[in-house]
Symmetry: D2
Subunit: 485 residues, 4 copies
């Protein structure tokens, strides 16, 4: 079997599918780091399992250090140094963030999370921070050396994350000229971050999602003491390169971003970034799973030939790669859209609503593709694919997290339905695709959507899945076909 060897390298795949790729040498160098050292570090971190949290030092003082092996920090900082954050602010473009992220995720989808939440902290600070707050906290986030700070985005509490209006019980109280936060965050990615953006309800604000505001919370108070504590690191099945913790805010100093009334918009804007990062990462993970399966299959002999040459498997490889091209195209279209709207503030443009639908489609579709591809890659390996030592099983663990965090499939479908209903985003999408899409197919899917929208609310929701899936496939197909031709 002959497949395009660009499948084996994330930079090569990017180059082949985005002809105008900026920073190609940077990406190549970054990929080299991963091949020579990063992958081994990542393997060791994954094998070690949930990292150890050192809560107290030997004198009984609370310290809350997440004890990764020292190499972890090397691996993590390689991306910061390469410019996953600082280049974006220098170039006023999110592309470096997503390009470097694609390479990162080919080797370790979990490690992109610290980068992502750092970006999701920097952006609202950049857009909505008071000048003094910005002057103090933005420079360390965009530092080009190892003094760089990390960010984090903490919304979810123990009651669940989809219904934030109900779930967020953290309260912020005015104290002097600042705010003090009290509450528990249950899924706190990058729990040892230097700086976090945190959803909380200002004391006296209305119930529900409209009463939430977004605060910047540093790890240490001015006097060096801990501004929040980490209750534990969660024992996730994957993405062990990001320490996801439970965080206890107890009179924690916070800085309001924007106004309390805008809080929910700011929260959703941070989700925009992480959902697109999730899509890009899903595509990269799927590429990696195919690459590993291919590397394995051309070496494994059965019935006198490499199993990659067995007709059934060969056909499956063709289909997987073709699927990857579609998922990849969808993810990167969402990137480009985000890159054109990321500085918008409410009230948003139609392009922003178009972006939002693209984001839901991309998050949903690429994660599903990544999970199915990882599962299939394990089946290609057969027995040895079920062993922890052969790494391919890791991709499924990682993919399942990609499928779930930043909103499960249900959330993407229902939020997608909302932006379709409220903002006619499906029509904006068809317009945006223009002659990249087959007009007849486009018309047909528009009709199906219109039929759905005519139903009572419960039936709309009950019926969204096949329609949404079709819209995702249609869009991905149109974009991939266009790119190829």
């Amino acid at each position: 079997m002959m497949i395009d060897e660009c499948i084996l390298s994330p930079t090569a795949f990017l180059t082949a599918h985005r002809p105008d790729l900026p920073h190609p040498d940077l990406l190549k160098t970054y990929e080299s780091f991963w091949r020579e050292r990063g992958q081994l570090v990542s393997d060791a971190v994954d094998r070690m399992g949930t990292p150890w949290l050192r809560m107290f030092d030997e004198q009984g003082r609370r310290v809350d250090e997440v004890c990764y092996p020292p190499d972890y920090w090397t691996m993590l900082r390689e991306g910061y140094r390469a410019g996953v954050i600082w280049r974006c602010f220098q170039e006023e473009s999110l592309l470096p963030f997503f390009l470097l992220g694609y390479v990162t995720c080919f080797f370790d989808p979990g490690l992109y999370c610290p980068h992502t939440v750092s970006m999701s902290t920097a952006v609202p600070l950049y857009k909505y921070g008071a000048e003094a707050v910005k002057a103090r906290f933005l420079p360390p986030l965009v530092a080009q050396d190892d003094s760089v700070w990390q960010g984090a985005t903490w919304m979810t509490e123990s009651g669940g994350g989809s219904d934030l209006g109900r779930g967020v019980e953290t309260v912020a109280r005015l104290h002097g000229d600042g705010w003090l936060l009290d509450g528990d965050k249950y899924f706190a990615s990058n729990a040892h971050a230097d700086l976090a953006v945190v959803a909380a309800r200002p004391d006296g604000a209305p119930a529900g999602v409209r009463g939430l505001a977004l605060y910047l919370v540093p790890r240490r108070r001015a006097d060096g003491s801990l501004n929040f504590t980490i209750r534990r690191i969660k024992d996730k099945i994957g993405t062990r390169s990001v320490p996801t913790g439970e965080v206890e805010l107890r009179g924690s100093k916070g800085y309001l971003l924007g106004t309390p009334e805008m809080g929910i918009y700011l929260i959703l804007e941070t989700l925009n970034i992480s959902r697109i990062a999730n899509s890009v990462g899903s595509a990269a993970l799927a590429q990696r799973a195919i690459a590993d399966a291919y590397t394995f299959a051309r070496e494994r002999i059965a019935f006198d030939r490499p199993i990659a040459d067995h007709p059934l498997l060969a056909r499956q490889f063709d289909e997987r790669i073709s699927g990857l091209r579609r998922a990849f195209a969808l993810a990167w279209e969402a990137v480009d859209l985000l890159n054109s709207v990321w500085k918008e503030t409410p009230r948003y443009s139609d392009r922003y609503h178009l972006f939002r639908l693209a984001a839901h489609l991309a998050k949903f579709w690429t994660a599903e593709f990544a999970a199915q591809t990882a599962k299939w890659a394990m089946e290609v390996y057969a027995g040895v694919g079920t062993l922890q030592e052969n790494r391919v099983e890791r991709w499924l663990r990682e993919a399942m997290i990609l499928a779930i965090w930043e909103g499960t499939p249900h959330r993407q479908m229902l939020d997608g339905l909302e932006v379709i209903e409220r903002n006619n985003a499906h029509r904006l999408l068809i317009d945006h695709l223009g002659d990249r899409a087959d007009p007849q197919a486009a018309e047909s899917i528009m009709e199906r959507i219109d039929d759905l929208l005519a139903l009572p609310q419960d039936e709309k929701e009950a019926g969204i899945e096949p329609v949404f899936r079709e819209l995702a496939e249609f869009t991905a197909g149109a974009l991939a076909f266009h790119r190829q031709s």
Copy 2:
């Protein structure tokens, strides 16, 4: 949402879907054991990871003990005592094996493996063992107390398991009036078994799969010394309740089962049992994943109601349960067919060929359904579903092993294609379904198969997947519809 509560209990689901269920009280009692104690033991075994192999005692003597906690043995033997093996030989029916297995797999799909390989050892010994060998080794396998022996089936070597003719390098040499085996088994389930059936090539036998024979190999020689050693326990992602090892045969005493010429038939017959066990286990696992998702969803509140009542999720529950009924029906049809042919020896009847196709369809389809259902259940849990502490992620790990061992999807499809081509098994299947199947649909699928069979070999293999999938869906649907109505 109201769903049929029988989904929450394996015995209740069996009762609802097999009205003539034998041993209902036995099953209820066995399920009670699992609820009260077994599940906790199983959770602990899974959490402990790959069990420790004590290779040497403190005096440096090789001992090869697999160090499970003592409770493991309680859990394991509960099934033996209940009659997972002995009842079958007492009743001359495999039903007790599969019924108890269904309950076992609802709680621990990995634990059914020791039972299955014990059965897969007992059956060929019963059918093909020389009288003296049978007299010596069968009674301990069917013991009703805790003196019961365990069996094991060891075929695969390090080069892979699908092409046994190439992969088996273990050699058997005549020595005196017996055989001595030398070789390494790479996936040796239940590695600490008292007795194993082992594929090996008699010295001088022809290359390829026709040169293989099946041997009975006890753990200890007559003098009490170890007859084989365990190199290590493999670090699987799941099914940690069965110790899968690598076994080194070094001059290991073996007893030939049947004749060398019949070897490959005996090997395939052991696979018959384990593939059907795999199907039954897959159905049970899928039921469990749905049950857990439902238990979770009716407690978890979002947007002012249990998420089980959200229209999109409610629809998904309906579809999953409907899918389970089809997978369940297919698995149990395969059970009933096996139960009618399991004593056949070559040359086999048409009913045996019909069974073989049913077995491939069931193994393929039920495992796929189990994996997809486990994935979906994790998504229902959302964030907390990615945590090791909440058990639901375990079902996906277990399901992925069910999807792979006893033959990957590729193997099922290609072997299914073979029995279709050689034995017209697809027509035997349609005949067997009779008026349970929709005639038009049946005709249509027969046509598609005939079209496929008319293609050159490579294209046949390349094209089997959608056809095979359709045949599985069709069969499962027909059987489920019939059972319901």
Copy 3:
């Protein structure tokens, strides 16, 4: 080499050295449980490491369950059922507690800790509890079936345990007719206990150790909610059969025992019990280490004979066993003294002061002997003694904890010095030994002590070690000689 085989069994050793042994059959039965099942469970618990704390259930509700394998509970409750607590209250004697404890510690020194802290909870409740409190909480502690409650004693906080007056920052406030406690306990043995006795400072009480009071704190409030939370289980090197946690008291309901003014006496009385338990456990551990070393050495061959027969090693065995007899005699003398004073309340008799000196000597000397013996046993095993799989290294880990908790050697010496100075306890001891001690040796040691007492305070403390050690050796020797003759 011929050694007295009673070294191999705790019951046999007890029988040989306490001719009037009560409950010999009970002890034999209890020892049989350990040989048949308990030891395997204990090995598995030790191998699993720090037990997993399930803090939240899948719905995000705080649950704080310590996840031992189910067998752990069987092992733990075997002692409760045998009467480690209830028999003492039935017989008004602590002997059953210490006798069963000796057997427990031969197999698992850590498991005696839950029993010990249960006793240390029951005794102050029995002696000082208000009638209503006693009526409610004592019966479950002395239940004879598996409904039995466990106790716990929580004094130490993160600043260290020896200076309680400074270390205890937990505060108790009157609220209605009861008390609410707030603070963090840093070494909370048996953290999942149903009931704990907790040191706290009543709001407004004076600083220092005189301001402390002792409270009874149940795990659950009347409404079933958790009355305290467990922050984490500590990662100890040994005694993994007791979950030592960090406990957070946050408005936790407490019941005052005795009066606030008596608090420090009550605290010290609980320490009396655990220090003697520690001494008994140390003797049992030392016996076990010798037993294991002997079992090993008579099997291991070097230079054509068992190493147990090598002259150097044979001499070491003789010395170890002789040392064990002395340590054993000292520990049990302390038991008998405690048994005669345990119901005293302040102001205490001279016999109580005599007991206190005996307790300090016994805690100090037996733990030191246990640690040295465990170290020596590892050296007998040589290379294989450094492997986790051969269990002997465990005794050293366990022994180090026995040497440290309930007060390090420094604490025993300094507190021993205090009771000598204040209460002339050394003279009470010599009188108590009577003609069991050699009069000349007694006179000589009394002189050394008097010389020491004549020094300035700093020099007294600096010089206590050799004197205290000699007094311990002298006392142990006198008692052992007497018992033998």
Copy 4:
């Protein structure tokens, strides 16, 4: 309390106690590496436990890779680059090996083992290798860059290590112009070494220790295939920075070093190096334990002052440091003696016999001191010293291995007795000490030894312990006193 701060740094302590210290800047730089990065890596390696052995790659090919995190190799190679091996051959002095080793062991006593066995491989190759063998294998062992090879010394088999004549069952057979080895090594330190020296019995050689020869065995054959396999990595309680394995030699190519008749001498010469390395490491570990205890004690407050200032503890610190000076002096005297005899070949000089007694005394005494000091340091930490997270417990685990490997105390005493009897080594020692020793004390100890030697053999052995201990204390005291004055 004021203690000499040089206790806190290995280089400072070396500088203070060896005024003529070579390479002080090299040592400082090397110590800096450890403080900045090495210690963190070492902590992570220890926390990870026994490293994972990857036996097979995903294609089922045997690979036997020991999977440390990448940082491990950085840490390990830092010493090689600094010159722990190559400098010795450049300078024709073993001092660089021991000086760098002292610094290494202050931070990680286990990591010095790979360096030590590399040296113990290079030395016999250098002294006894045939020219062609030396030309091929010595250069990679003394390479100055990261291409450096590692060595290993594998003697012990499963029956135990003290009686090599009985224990070694590995056989070497002539095959063509070379040797093939078959056997199992049970304690194979640095199991993944590139090159090992291996004790084996040439086919037909006499039984007993005189029939053993020493072979050089490379990891790979000329064709790149594995020349031996690793059965497993042993689960030691400490020294996890060296992978100790079980090695299977199966027709493994070996190169004879020296002649078969000289084998036992070559074996003992490799032990000379590792025993002295063990002594140096024990001194360094003891210094570290004191340093950690001091660092802790001057921060921990109890009764209103740092516990380091409590009179009892202050006195213990003084005694520990004084003990360290004696142990240090004894270890380095043994180093200097070895450095003057390491190139000798049989028949040996009197100086060599003197060295041997010094080696036995040093190995015995320093390891005992290290273990007792580590135990004491844990007691200084009290409760927090029993927690894995506070590192001090590690020193006891490491110390117990130092006490046992390279010969237990029993072995040192009995071999010391032998060299005293056969070679009058005690008189050589007294002569060597000259006026550094108190003449009266010297005379008294000589008398005690002569009395002992006059006894029958069994009584001599039974009585050696107190005499040997006294000789060690006496020698260490004399050397330390001399150095100080």
